[in-house]
C-alpha cells in the first residue's frame, strides 16, 4: 500500500481534499468541481498518472446532482485514481478538460448529448451518437424512455404481459424497493 499512500498523501497535502484507499491499487478521491482540473493536471504532470482511463456520469437524481468520475492510471506506479465530483443537475456545467487529455473530448461530447452537461469551450459537433435529437437528453433518469417509445414507435399488440422485471424479482426475493426508486419504476 506504499504507492497508494504516497499518491493519496501527495494529493491531500496539495489540495486539502478527502480520499481513501478503496483497495490495493485503487485510490478514491472526492473533490470540489472547481479543483478537479488542477488535481488532474497535478497527477498527470507531477505524479506520472498520464493515462485517462475513463470519464463517466451517474445521475444522482435524488440529490439533484450529477456525479462525475474521472479514472486515471499510472503505467509506472500501476495505481488507479478515481476522482469523483458532484455538480448541480440544473444547468449542469463542468470544466472542459480536453486540453489535458485530447480523448476527453469524446467523453465530454457524449456527456453533453446524453446528459445535457455543458462544457464551456468544448469544440465538436453537437450530434455524437444520436441524429436529430430534440427531446430531453435521453440518459437522464427523468426521461421516460418507455413513454417516448410508445409515443414515437409503433407498438405491436401482444406485449401487454410485459412485466416490470424489478417488481417480479422483488416478489420472488422479498426485497423491498426503496421509495426513491419506486418513483421511477413503471407502475
Amino acid at each position: 500500500m506504499e504507492k497508494e499512500n504516497k499518491i493519496l498523501e501527495a494529493i491531500k497535502v496539495a489540495f486539502n481534499v478527502e480520499g481513501h484507499i478503496a483497495r490495493e491499487k485503487r485510490v478514491m478521491i472526492t473533490a470540489n468541481k472547481d479543483i478537479v482540473s488542477s488535481i488532474l493536471l497535478f497527477c498527470k504532470n507531477q505524479q506520472g498518472y498520464i493515462h485517462l482511463n475513463h470519464m463517466s456520469v451517474v445521475d444522482r437524481i435524488e440529490d439533484g446532482k450529477f456525479e462525475l468520475n474521472y479514472i486515471i492510471w499510472s503505467p509506472t506506479e500501476k495505481v488507479t485514481i478515481m476522482l469523483k465530483t458532484f455538480i448541480d443537475r440544473e444547468n449542469a456545467e463542468m470544466e472542459n478538460i480536453d486540453s489535458i487529455w485530447d480523448q476527453a473530448n469524446t467523453y465530454e461530447r457524449e456527456m453533453r448529448e446524453m446528459y445535457g452537461i455543458q462544457f464551456p469551450g468544448l469544440i465538436g459537433r453537437q450530434d455524437f451518437a444520436l441524429e436529430d435529437w430534440d427531446e430531453m437528453p435521453p440518459m437522464r433518469r427523468d426521461f421516460d424512455t418507455h413513454a417516448y417509445a410508445e409515443k414515437t414507435f409503433y407498438q405491436r399488440p401482444g406485449r401487454e404481459d410485459a412485466k416490470d422485471v424489478r417488481e417480479e424479482l422483488t416478489k420472488q426475493s422479498g426485497e423491498v424497493i426503496p421509495d426513491f426508486a419506486k418513483k421511477y419504476s413503471r407502475e
Binding site: 441524429e131 436529430d132 426521461f143 417509445a149 410508445e150 414515437t152 414507435f153 409503433y154 407498438q155 405491436r156
Partner: protein, 182 residues
C-alpha cells in the same frame, strides 16, 4: 390461394421465379448483433451457398436485405437508402425478435419496434438470436414464396409509398435523402 397463384403464372414467370428462388444475393449489411450469425450460416458448417445464397457487396446487385436484429433510428435511414437502391424484385428478411416487436429493446428510445411499418418485410425469423438453422429455414420460406409468386412486396412498397414515407419521416425528422429513380 397458393394453388391459384401457381396456376396464374405463365411459363416464363415460372422459369423466372425458379431462377430467382435458386439465386439469392444477400446484401452484406449487418444492422445489429444478429449479423454475427451470418458468417456461421455462410461457412462450412451450415453452408447457405448450397441453396444458391451468396453475399453481394452492393445494393445494386443484391436481392435480399437482411435486417439482422435491432434497428436503431440512425441505422433506419441507411437501411431505407439501401433498400431503395436495390433493384426489383427485392426481398426483406426481418431477423430476430427486435425486428418483430422490439424484442428486449421494446422501450428503448432509439430502436424501432416494428420493421414492417417502415419497409415491407417478406419473412420474419423469430429468436434472439435465431440460430443458423432458423435462418436457413427462413430463406427456404422465402424461396417458397418466390416460387409461388407471392413475394412481391417491392411492388407493394411503391404502391403504398406515401404511407411508408409518412412512417419513415416520423422517425427521421431531418429528411435529407436523395430521390432514387429505382
Amino acid at each position: 390461394m397458393t394453388s391459384n397463384n401457381k396456376d396464374k403464372q405463365t411459363i416464363v414467370e415460372y422459369i423466372q421465379n425458379w431462377s430467382r428462388k435458386h439465386s439469392l444475393f444477400v446484401m452484406a449489411y449487418g444492422t445489429g448483433c444478429g449479423a454475427i450469425e451470418i458468417p456461421a450460416t455462410m461457412t462450412s458448417r451450415y453452408d447457405a451457398e448450397r441453396f444458391g445464397i451468396r453475399g453481394a457487396a452492393t445494393p445494386r446487385q443484391a436481392d435480399v436485405l437482411l435486417i439482422t436484429g435491432y434497428l436503431a433510428t440512425k441505422t433506419l435511414k441507411r437501411v431505407i437508402r439501401v433498400y431503395e437502391q436495390m433493384q426489383d424484385p427485392k426481398y426483406v428478411i426481418g431477423f430476430g425478435s427486435c425486428t418483430i416487436n422490439g424484442g428486449m429493446y421494446y422501450d428503448s428510445y432509439n430502436t424501432i419496434n416494428a420493421l414492417d411499418r417502415y419497409i415491407p418485410v417478406d419473412v420474419y425469423i423469430n429468436g434472439c438470436m435465431p440460430r443458423p438453422e432458423a435462418v436457413i429455414s427462413g430463406f427456404v420460406q422465402l424461396q417458397k414464396q418466390i416460387a409461388e409468386g407471392t413475394a412481391n412486396n417491392a411492388a407493394k412498397y411503391k404502391e403504398n409509398l406515401e404511407w411508408y414515407r409518412a412512417n419513415q419521416k416520423k422517425i427521421i425528422k431531418n429528411w435529407r435523402m436523395p430521390d432514387y429513380n429505382w
